[in-house]
Symmetry: C2
Subunit: 408 residues, 2 copies
């Protein structure tokens, strides 16, 4: 992408009310634009990051049999009344809206009720199970405070998956598969220091699991032992839980973390009130076992921004960077050569072809945070090389022009 052909432009200042680092940096670097507290637009660079995160998640979920769907945002209260969750006393983050001609609808903050109801049409026998269904969907939550940039939104992008099983054993087996898929997802995304964390369960499960990324500005407090093999949310820091996990209080250190995902054995929590049943091999009617599995896609983007940024700007892991290379040409011949390199590899390069000083381009390359900056100048050209600088380390190497393609 050529910078002169986009409206990407770095800003000197973020809006005054943008107090979160992720929001301020992503705004200044041209990835997002704030509409309201907790409500953001994704600009071309930001949307590319979101799509790269989605692609990784999609690949890993398809690999464990997930089927992608897209459920509606507008919600029928009737379904949610069956589980008692349409009430503002029960779920206090609903956005509700009135329909012309009468009636109230909700804007989905999550989708357990509609997916459970939908599958009543498709599940009747043990032969229809197991099933796993996921979506990438905009969720709406009427948060009182939304001051954490894209870490906590009133409108945000989430991946939510729901699985359906004939037996508890099958749910347990799939749950373990999802755990492995989640480990691969966070590793591939490059979100280091993300740990499966014990958290409180519900009526049907002793624990749920969160995926917590250690982060100074994270809203959660977690406790962990030295090798991070046990991480637990403060909410379950109790003698009984410590005993379950085989760890002593004094072996645990405290830190803050941001929840980027969670997985939950729902069992009959939704299938029972909504009537999702199946006929087993012995012709007996039974409730369907369910699990649910979330990843906050836009929050993951915000956590990455927070976690890896330095005083110069953003630092993207390669797998989710909008482009791999920030390309700068200096001088007439250097710029011509840069243009040539760009033309051959448009998809992986953000070419700063603006009429601006090199210093300005260098500063912007650091703010935007692509993994590599490549500079081709008249001087480097005379040596037959380009200068390649790693954003993360700041280290610069000379790479022969005829080998430059290998960095892509």
């Amino acid at each position: 992408m050529k910078m002169t052909q986009t409206f990407i432009k770095t800003l000197r200042e973020a809006p005054k009310d943008e107090i979160a680092q992720n929001g301020a940096l992503l705004t200044r670097a041209g990835y997002i634009h704030k509409e309201l507290a907790g409500v953001y637009d994704f600009l071309p660079l930001g949307l590319r990051v979101i799509e790269k995160i989605k692609s990784i998640i999609r690949e890993e979920l398809n690999a464990i049999g997930g089927q992608e769907v897209l459920l509606s945002s507008l919600q029928n209260p009737e379904l949610w009344e069956k589980t008692g969750r349409f009430s503002d006393q029960e779920v206090d983050i609903w956005f509700k809206t009135e329909v012309v001609g009468g009636g109230t609808l909700g804007l989905a903050p999550t989708h357990e009720e509609p997916i459970t109801n939908l599958l009543k049409t498709y599940i009747s026998s043990y032969k229809d199970l197991p099933l796993s269904v996921y979506q990438f969907q905009t969720k709406f939550r009427n948060e009182k405070r939304a001051k954490s940039g894209i870490l906590r939104g009133r409108e945000f992008l989430m991946k939510d998956m729901y699985s359906f099983h004939a037996t508890e054993e099958d749910l347990d087996k799939y749950y373990a598969e999802v755990e492995k898929a989640y480990a691969r997802i966070f590793e591939r995304i490059g979100l280091t220091e993300t740990y499966k964390t014990f958290a409180s369960g519900g009526i049907f499960s002793k624990y749920s699991h969160e995926y917590q990324t250690f982060l100074p500005v994270g809203e959660d407090t977690v406790y962990y032992n030295a090798d991070k093999s046990v991480v637990l949310n403060k909410e379950v820091l109790e003698p009984e839980v410590l005993e379950d996990l085989g760890v002593k209080r004094e072996e645990l250190a405290e830190t803050t973390a941001a929840e980027v995902g969670n997985i939950f054995k729902l069992k009959f929590k939704y299938s029972e009130p909504l009537g999702l049943k199946f006929i087993d091999e012995n012709n007996a009617q039974k409730n369907v076992y369910m699990g649910c599995y979330g990843i906050g896609v836009s929050r993951v983007m915000g956590v990455i921004a927070e976690k890896f940024a330095d005083e110069k700007g953003l630092v993207w892991p390669e797998a989710v960077a909008p482009f791999k290379v920030y390309l700068v040409g200096i001088g007439e011949a250097g710029t011509a050569k840069a243009r040539e390199f760009y033309a051959e590899h448009e998809d992986e390069i953000l070419f700063d072809d603006r009429d601006a000083r090199p210093g300005e381009k260098f500063a912007d390359s650091e703010l935007i945070g692509l993994p590599l900056r490549v500079v081709i100048s008249d001087r480097t050209l005379a040596e037959g090389v380009a200068e390649v600088t790693e954003r993360k380390t700041g280290e610069t190497h000379k790479v022969a022009l005829d080998k430059l393609v290998e960095i892509l």
Copy 2:
């Protein structure tokens, strides 16, 4: 995709309140699920159609310099009050919602106001122009009646593009480019009989253009001459317009049509009240010229379903079919061979591997409407062939097994 690994299942009946053919067929064939009047979920097959339509649109818009973004659904009334469009008297299809802690937000039925406001941050000089920005976004419209399946939704997927120019000439030039891109899009999608149609303009333009697909259940009435070089909406069937278009009333025939897209020269309609200005070469401050360009993505899917369906079910054009081939194996050896063919080309095949009678599979293949049905049976295997049936014509050809890959 294997049918036993999905929850795709055809239904004998659509919901009783589903009176539109597109809604009934798409529901029975397992593409969509109705949540509420005008509110649908997209199931795996349906989402694949949507994604294929999006891909074609994206390619053509990127080719004319469109930059993809994603704007928020929740809307700040302040912006819309500047154009007078937050008022329910002015725009009567708003869904509005209350924020915890006070204040009203709207759910975007369209995005002129936020995109115009957003670009105030990015456009200041003639050097920043022209610009073209688009998104695929869920729109919300509080429709009193929503009984047309996915032809008219309360929640629906739209592609909306906005362009920004320094001069009227430049807007005109880009508008003509979009016209060409739209012609390519509808041709590639396979939506025949879609015509650029003169419709009423606004304050700043004499006409806008709609893209109307001739369709018996279409909500619009249009008039056209024999070669379809002039098509106009009933709303502009006036002597002055006929004179403009150089056509006589008696040369025009009437038909019904569904609007699948529209393009509009907005000029200063939004840039003026929202204050989107630029400095020209002579240091004078001027309003930015704007155009906007929509395509109803989910509506296009519904129009295709309506337009090509026959008494047996859906008939998808190849470019947007969820899979190219519906594969059936009959007999032990035939099924083994089918399984083998599937394993080599999973991406393009829906393999009906259910334990069901061939007649049931054939009926479902017709309802689901993929372009080709391939049958490999013990009998065809003995001949070294597969039977390939075109959904559209019903014609069956024998294709040698070693050449079967060529149909993909």
